[in-house]
């Protein structure tokens, strides 16, 4: 195949266009602003936070502040 043929140029242009579109889509992808390790750490922190808050709420809802005398 002749590397200067119009077909090759056309295919190369198509490839360049696809690469540019891929770049734009990659920039718009959510969750890739940090490394996988950092994301995993943040995910664990969030899980711990939600678990702690759930426990706190459960504790206050079931807490009886008064000693009801048995009469």
């Amino acid at each position: 195949m002749d590397k200067d043929s119009p077909d090759v140029h056309q295919e190369l242009n198509k490839l360049k266009t696809k690469i540019q579109e891929a770049r734009e889509q990659i920039v718009a992808m959510p969750g890739i602003g940090m490394s996988p390790e950092q994301q995993k750490q943040q995910f664990e922190n969030l899980k711990e936070q939600v678990r702690t808050k759930n426990e706190l709420l459960q504790k206050y809802k079931s807490l009886c502040m008064f000693d009801i005398p048995k009469s």
Binding site: K3, I26, M29, P30, G31, I32, P36, Q39, K40, Q42, F43, L46, K47, Q49, V50, K53, N54, L56, L57, Y60, K61
Partner: protein, 225 residues
Amino acid sequence: MTAPELCSHRVASYLKPQVILELLVQRDGEFQELMRIAHEQGKVHQEMQLLEKEAEKRDTDIQQLQKQLKEAEHILATAVYQAKEKLKSIEKARKGSVSSEEVIKYAHRISASNAVCAPLNWVPGDPRRPYPTDLEMRSGRLGQMSNLSTNGVNGHLPGDALAAGRLPEVLTPQYPWQSGDMSLNMLPPNHSNDFMLEPPGHNKENEDDVEVMSTDSSSSSSDSD
């Protein structure tokens, strides 16, 4: 592969497109691997967003609970304070307790002069009033002091007649409610013998008590003003 390496490869492989294509395929493999990692990170990111929403909801619940606990604390503090005040009042009342018989006796003394309730035989037209009338004032001590110069004009003073329990001549029986024996009608008939009370005017000591009670600021009959 870095850019300088690529350039050197480009130069070296100017006549070798196969090498270039191999490099391209290698790059594509790396790209595919990165895309897979990015896809997984996207999923984790979605889960993280759900967790953040849940954390926000828990925060709202905690704030709501805090507000309600604060309100409950305020209500309970008010109730405890009022209960303590009531206990103080109870203790104070217990320390200053008065015998019920004393209170009833006192009430009878106050009401004996018909100042709190009309006599049972009172009808419209009866000149008797729950307050001293003009005639009674004139026949009292103050009136007598100012009428010393006219003593004996009428033969007897209305005040003497009242002190003796008899009506003056102007009040001789003309109406059904008038009677010559006012002393028996000055007390309610069913209470006249209870508690050994004497009708006012019969006894100077009672007169003093009545006068003291009527002028006493703590008596109920003078509280109507």
